[in-house]
């Protein structure tokens, strides 16, 4: 009886651990694309208007946020799609800085994703149709690491590139807040 109980407890613990591990380490080479629609309410104007409770978190967030392989792919895309051109290594330039915890259009992964997909006024191009949803979400996952939001276990200390400041594994983990602090 008690032994069976203990066994089941053990099994449960292992299961939980497995799930956690999967979540962070699972390589998803997805053969089916994710739905094309933008997360509800996360259109530019709703975010712009601000106020009111934030929209419900897009379920896809769970697949990309804190997922190490996704973040790594996002990092590669960030360089190859030349995001560096405007945002530098997160320090900002022509485009806004991504390292600080200031998010004009919301710092949640689905909000960042829709920012990338739809583009924003003053120069941020819309990438929908140029990048697949999968790629956009991976980028979003990586962009969030620049401001040290995802868990430290899933980010890389550095890229094989010129040294760009303190390693993300050591930077403090901050909650994101939008410049109009209604969000979140």
């Amino acid at each position: 009886m008690s032994s069976r109980f203990r066994a089941s407890c053990l099994a449960a613990a292992v299961l939980v651990a497995v799930l956690v591990a999967c979540d962070r380490e699972e390589r998803r080479s997805r053969s089916k694309p994710i739905g094309e629609n933008v997360p509800a309410g996360a259109t530019p104007d709703t975010i712009y208007a601000g106020g009111g409770p934030g929209p419900a978190l897009d379920p896809r967030a769970a697949l990309y946020d804190n997922n190490a392989p996704a973040i790594a792919d996002g990092q590669q895309l960030y360089m190859r799609m030349n995001c560096v051109g405007c945002h530098s290594h997160g320090g900002g330039g022509m485009g806004p800085a991504l390292m600080d915890d200031e998010w004009r259009y919301g710092g949640r992964i689905d909000q960042v994703a829709s920012t990338i997909a739809e583009g924003r006024p003053n120069g941020m191009p819309a990438w929908r149709g140029r990048l697949t949803d999968d790629q956009i979400w991976k980028l979003a996952a990586y962009v969030r690491t620049l401001s040290g939001q995802p868990s430290k276990d899933s980010v890389a200390s550095r890229a094989d590139a010129m040294s760009a400041g303190a390693p993300q594994t050591l930077t403090p983990r901050e909650p994101a807040h939008t410049s109009d602090s209604a969000q979140q």
């Binding site: 550095r158 040294s163 400041g165 303190a166 390693p167």
Partner: protein, 203 residues
């Protein structure tokens, strides 16, 4: 079946402790010295390997570390050999009072060394995240600091031990003797590290 024994000799008058190579722990300590020595040697090799394909060392845009703290550290650690030798000899002569008197001095020196070491880290003029040059000299300094730290703690423990009546056990005196031996190793390894961190970049 076990064969009948034929007694050839009685060893009951053999001692239960001896100094130097007769003691097992001496061999153990030599073993670990060799292991850490190999680690140091390989770290040095890595240092020169990285230095090998560079035009300048340190790489251009960096300046060599400031030598003040490191040099102070070197002088002090060399001086520390004097009390170290005194304790070593005293231990071999079973002269417990001297051991008890001098060991705190060594502990104090260790503490001062660790404080200076903090300033050393600040005087490297480079962070480990800057480039491989920074990484390797930080690695060398950290590697050596761990040795200072461990032997310092070891010395404190022995010192406390020597203030109990266990101090009159011959084997404890052997421990003191071998701890002193290890301290010699620690400051000997520091000399190449010192040269590689502070002077090779200035060549």
């Amino acid at each position: 079946m076990i064969r009948e024994p034929r007694f050839t000799d009685d060893l009951s008058d053999l001692p239960t402790h001896k100094f130097g190579p007769s003691s097992l722990t001496w061999w153990g300590i030599i073993g670990f010295m060799l292991i850490e020595g190999a680690a140091f040697a390989l770290a040095f090799a890595a240092y020169f390997f990285l230095m090998g394909h560079e035009q300048g060392w340190p790489p251009e845009g960096r300046q060599a570390p400031n030598v003040l703290a490191g040099t102070l550290f070197t002088l002090l650690i060399l001086l520390s050999e004097i009390p170290n030798t005194i304790v070593k000899e005293a231990a071999r002569k079973a002269d417990v009072p001297t051991v008890r008197a001098v060991m705190p001095m060594i502990v104090a020196i260790g503490a001062v060394l660790l404080i200076i070491r903090v300033f050393e880290f600040n005087s490297l003029n480079v962070r480990w995240t800057d480039d491989a040059y920074g990484s390797i000299i930080w690695a060398l300094l950290v590697l050596h600091t761990t040795h200072i730290l461990t032997d310092w703690i070891d010395t404190i423990v022995l010192w406390l031990l020597m203030r109990t009546r266990l101090a009159y056990e011959g084997r404890r005196l052997v421990d003191v003797d071998e701890n002193a031996l290890y301290w010699r190793y620690v400051w000997l390894t520091w000399i190449p590290v010192y040269l590689m961190i502070y002077w090779v970049p200035r060549l």
